[in-house]
């Protein structure tokens, strides 16, 4: 499935896979190594991976509550469907990460709807970072009031789960004209300090809305000062970076750092450069959306003490 996206494309250095699903990704921590498991698959691999995982968590992204046009007039319905897939997992995820764009226009009623629907997720708890659609008009005040962790003034935060260090970053505020996403000097200083006390063996998971690497700057898909942040992460043996924003899976490996972008629960966007501009891929008919649910498996495996990524197409 999804073999149509595997065309050779020498223009870009990253691995490419245009796929989307109204689903999330289940992440399983096994011996300090993350394994990604797309939800909604009927393959048998899931139970095998789940069996001896230390813990699991799930990532969803880009719900865009308030969006109501082609190709998805029912973004609440597809979010519900995504959560139902999470709830159908044999092991209950320790927590859920939502990597931003909860809403389409930052409206209070959109946040209300999102908060209500998210209560249907049977997970230990949920963590959020804002997308640029969640901070319109108020620099995220409403988002942070409702969904913020309130650890730091800027909204960024970290926590630990079974020896894995998780960092939630904000890269959708104080954006400069002509620029991309931005972390800012205050957040970078905090990140440096937050990581300073950790041993290099500590597995790190960093999540933020916009890609933390220059995925496709022509469309704004990147973060201006991400290189600084990645510099702090280089000494760690296992770093996983999870982003949203682009509504499709893209991945890249750079040393011990593996980058992933997530699918949206609302609508797909075109692959980089394959349309005049980003935005909803309207050519996908609503009644055909479910055909995009079948996606690929991405998992981390340890090879010779380093992390590598293999792509595995599930059937």
């Amino acid at each position: 499935m999804d073999t149509d996206d595997s065309r050779a494309d020498g223009r870009r250095q990253f691995l490419k896979c245009m796929a989307w699903a109204g689903a999330g990704t289940l992440w399983l921590m096994k011996s300090g190594v993350l394994h990604a498991q797309p939800l909604g698959q009927s393959g048998t691999g899931q139970s095998v991976i789940s069996k001896d995982a230390t813990f699991s968590f799930v990532q969803i992204s880009d719900s865009h509550i308030g969006f109501h046009k082609a190709p998805n007039p029912d973004v609440v319905g597809t979010l519900r469907r995504s959560l139902a897939m999470i709830n159908a997992q044999s092991t209950r995820p320790a927590f859920l990460l939502h990597t931003g764009d909860l809403t389409h226009l930052s409206k209070p009623e959109e946040f209300d709807t999102l908060a209500g629907v998210m209560q249907e997720a049977r997970v230990g708890r949920s963590f959020y970072v804002p997308g640029e659609h969640d901070v319109i008009g108020d620099n995220g005040a409403e988002f942070f009031r409702r969904f913020g962790e309130k650890q730091q003034d800027g909204g960024w935060y970290s926590f630990d789960q079974d020896g894995v260090h998780f960092v939630g970053l904000i890269n959708v505020l104080n954006l400069k004209a002509g620029g991309l996403g931005s972390l800012g000097t205050d957040q970078l200083a905090w990140l440096k300090k937050d990581l300073a006390g950790l041993s290099a063996e500590t597995p790190i998971v960093v999540f933020a809305h916009m890609p933390l690497w220059p995925l496709y700057p022509q469309w704004g898909w990147g973060t201006d000062d991400s290189a600084e942040a990645l510099g702090y992460l280089k000494r760690f043996g296992s770093v996983t970076v999870l982003n949203g924003h682009i509504h499709q899976i893209q991945q890249k490996v750079e040393g011990s750092i593996t980058f992933y972008t997530a699918r949206s629960t609302a609508y797909p966007q075109p692959a980089p450069g394959e349309a005049p501009a980003p935005g909803p891929l309207q050519s996908v008919k609503p009644d055909a959306l479910h055909r995009y649910l079948g996606i690929r498996d991405v998992r981390h495996v340890r090879v010779g003490g380093a992390l590598a990524v293999t792509d595995e197409v599930l059937t």
């Binding site: 319109i136 954006l175 002509g178 620029g179 469309w219 980003p278």
Partner: protein, 115 residues
């Protein structure tokens, strides 16, 4: 008919206001100037416009994504989120160069040069 007459009356009042401001600053032509800028494919079209002082510039979002008109340096009031089809208008009274961008897609930049 009554409706049409009332509209004409409002038009007269607006014109009256224009004449008054024209007298206050004689460089401004009497006729009200308007200028349209489209927001399409994550870009402002045209990207740079040069207009006389007093021009009312109207942006129309023709994308399926929302955009926000934001003045670099806060020289004019930013728009709210413009959903598909929404418009936003600013009257530029003073000469100057007004750079602006979309605060949620900051690679979208434009300039209004007011003479």
């Amino acid at each position: 008919m009554k409706h049409a007459i009332r509209l004409r009356a409002i038009g007269m009042m607006a014109l009256g206001g224009m004449v008054f401001s024209c007298m206050a600053a004689d460089a401004i032509p009497a006729k009200s100037k308007t200028y349209q800028v489209a927001i399409q494919n994550f870009a402002f079209a045209p990207k740079t416009v040069t207009v006389p002082a007093g021009t009312r510039v109207t942006w129309t979002n023709r994308d399926e994504e929302p955009h926000v008109i934001t003045s670099a340096g806060a020289l004019f009031t930013s728009s709210k989120a413009l959903d598909s089809g929404d418009t936003y208008a600013v009257t530029f009274a003073k000469p100057g160069t007004y750079a602006y961008y979309c605060s949620i897609h900051p690679m979208m930049v434009g300039t209004i040069i007011v003479q």
